[in-house]
Subunit: 466 residues, 2 copies
Amino acid sequence: AAAATEKKQKVVLVRIETSPEDVVGMHVSEGILTAQGGMTSHAAVVGRGMGKCCVVGCKQLHIDYKARKFTVEGAKTEYKEGDVISLDGFTGEVFSGPIKRVDPEFSGHFKTFMEWVDATRQIKVRANAETEFDVVNALRFGAEGIGLARTEHMFFAADRIPSMRKMILAKNEKERRAALDELLPMQQRDFEMIFRHMDGKPVTVRTIDPPLHEFLPHEPAAQEELAKEMGVSAKDIRDKVAQLYEANPMLGHRGCRLGITYPEITEMQARAILAAAVVVAKEGKKVLPEIMIPLVGHYKELTDQEAIVRRVAEEVFKQYGSRIEYLVGTMIEVPRGALTADEVARTAEFFSFGTNDLTQMTLGFSRDDYAPFIKVYLEKGIYEYDPFAVLDQTGVGQLMEMAVKKGRSTRPTLKCGICGEHGGEPKSVEFCHRIGLNYVSASPFRVPVARVAAAQAAIRNPRDTK
Amino acid sequence: AAAATEKKQKVVLVRIETSPEDVVGMHVSEGILTAQGGMTSHAAVVGRGMGKCCVVGCKQLHIDYKARKFTVEGAKTEYKEGDVISLDGFTGEVFSGPIKRVDPEFSGHFKTFMEWVDATRQIKVRANAETEFDVVNALRFGAEGIGLARTEHMFFAADRIPSMRKMILAKNEKERRAALDELLPMQQRDFEMIFRHMDGKPVTVRTIDPPLHEFLPHEPAAQEELAKEMGVSAKDIRDKVAQLYEANPMLGHRGCRLGITYPEITEMQARAILAAAVVVAKEGKKVLPEIMIPLVGHYKELTDQEAIVRRVAEEVFKQYGSRIEYLVGTMIEVPRGALTADEVARTAEFFSFGTNDLTQMTLGFSRDDYAPFIKVYLEKGIYEYDPFAVLDQTGVGQLMEMAVKKGRSTRPTLKCGICGEHGGEPKSVEFCHRIGLNYVSASPFRVPVARVAAAQAAIRNPRDTK
């Protein structure tokens, strides 16, 4: 895809499924088509965030990467690299050849209507964003803050991933710290960019979340190339990939588990966030950083990570001779975190419901693997909606409501929000309004829908106090 | 291992980790040593059930399957196939060369003591068993029933797995039914064996649980061999394995999701269980079958599967001209199942807490992958105990207590038990007693410990009514 774009061709990325290694290819593509996955698979989530047209889980596709072609079950035509196809992201249709398209437009009436909407709703609407493109888009679509900045997305950029990989391949803490020192100024610049754009609006930054193997290449050829670049043996890389292999990475060594086993990662990230905040505050902007620790299931995980953040904050404030206000909170995305929210809220200054993962664990549905059975489940009416598209209020929602109540029993002022994909889905937004969340956060392209849904929710379920 | 045993050699099985394909090798081994995994990984659970000495998660091992040898980090010696090592399953120590060993003995005093124990405890103790060896052992160790018979363990036997694989590779329902018809008489004979031994004692049979890819070989050589045996192309098998590949199989297409997408599997299993029960009842034995549907998170999953079981039961009773009593219930192992236990208990006549999976999903810990971080967690005191060894009462226990209360609010007589590994761990047994479970179930070798723990729990926390 990248090569094609260099030649200024428009391309549709066709993959069995996408992985973080495809992000660059996704960026330069007009649309994305995958054979596997569902509403919240990598292609769908990342594609939606980029505002790309995306059709996922098209099981009839047989893709042959080597021959650079695909066939469709039951059809005779072969589609080779260079052939033209068109996608409709609303209906999930894939068309052979080009079709006529129009760009969407925002009229003046739309603007007036959205002003009425904003005057009516009682919860805030933020966006999930971390790249400059997304942050600017988020503001354009009316976001009142960033609900989720995924720091790891920044690590995949070409200038950062070598340092990230050095960090992962480090043989000891000293080597790891040296690699993290390389990442620090780059991360800090990213956060400065976000804080400048979001002047006066809160920004929730999540510390590193995905398992480390996602940052290493899995193909032998790419491993050998990387080995050369890094001056290590291909075996070193293979061994590390094998060592990091997990049977169920979703439930593996990720989220705050990384920050707890490698405290120096949290340290570097806290330093980058807080130094950026102080720098931008000194420029006269209003910064409101909220540092969010992911995957907390036990309150002691949060106290462990919070202690690092608070210590680093004092170091940064001393170094710059200037203080700022900031919050430390957590994602509630592990069922145990919700069940023990009263304990977690002793430390957490805010909760953000990560309903993608909370749905995965509460229902026991892997979002990468549920496509084959969810189809039958929906046909048989076992679930009324795809639970990754529309929040399962009875199960996942029950945990959310419990967590809000338990959390506020400990800390009455606890700020609660949602940053899962459901934050942009109207029925789910209404539920969030009803259980007393302070805000919803969705990908920038879904912010206008979330604003309207929040207004409708407020009309149907007026709250006593704003 | 199997080859060595044919030569009447005693062997220790050394693997990076074990998988269901190793079960035969595990059976013929004196002990099992793995480089990966923890307390509830495949090797530990299956090894414990077999009463094998087992040391798992020995990360310092570097095993080279090709060269049939291993080395130990920090040591110079190589251990080749044929070299003697010894294991201590209590301490986790591995010794170079042979050590002096003694077999455990049960004295008369032990028997008397256990009679006092049984007179004191207020909850029943069952065993998890399905092979004749385990079932007989369970009775010998004082089990009062089978709490978990894992039907899929039977499918790995040499005479069954070809039919199982035919079923998986079937191109349509008709082919699938033909393969299931081959499995039916074998499953029925297995259940007859269990019911005969357990005369007068309840037997909980769980319908198929693991994802189907576990029944297919993953190594190219084994795939080609299988292709020859089955008269299909190796590509067919490779394609099926690829199609069944899951990013997170723990949260994938398994448990009742299989029975819902392929109702004919549940049909065959219900038929085998109930026909076996009728046959053995006709022999004058008392059969008490309890059919358990796994991985239920939504009550409609259970009503879907229950309808199949009840329909098949009537067909079987008509065919044999004889009826028996039986129960239909579910495992509570998905957090959503516990959260909606009041709905589930409208259909379920019993709950059995599958605390291995319930712990995995509630904490978001994959038991195959948690070894690297749980070590740090225990060192830092984040968790006091390994949550797969000792039940996490605050989190997982909270869900269990909620499920018992909600379930009995709908169905006051709801029978509740536990069949996870925690059922044999003293602290967890006490918790089960306190929240009002009717029984615990553990691997046969842990039954005596569970009986003692249940008596101690009764003394410390007397229940009003027995």
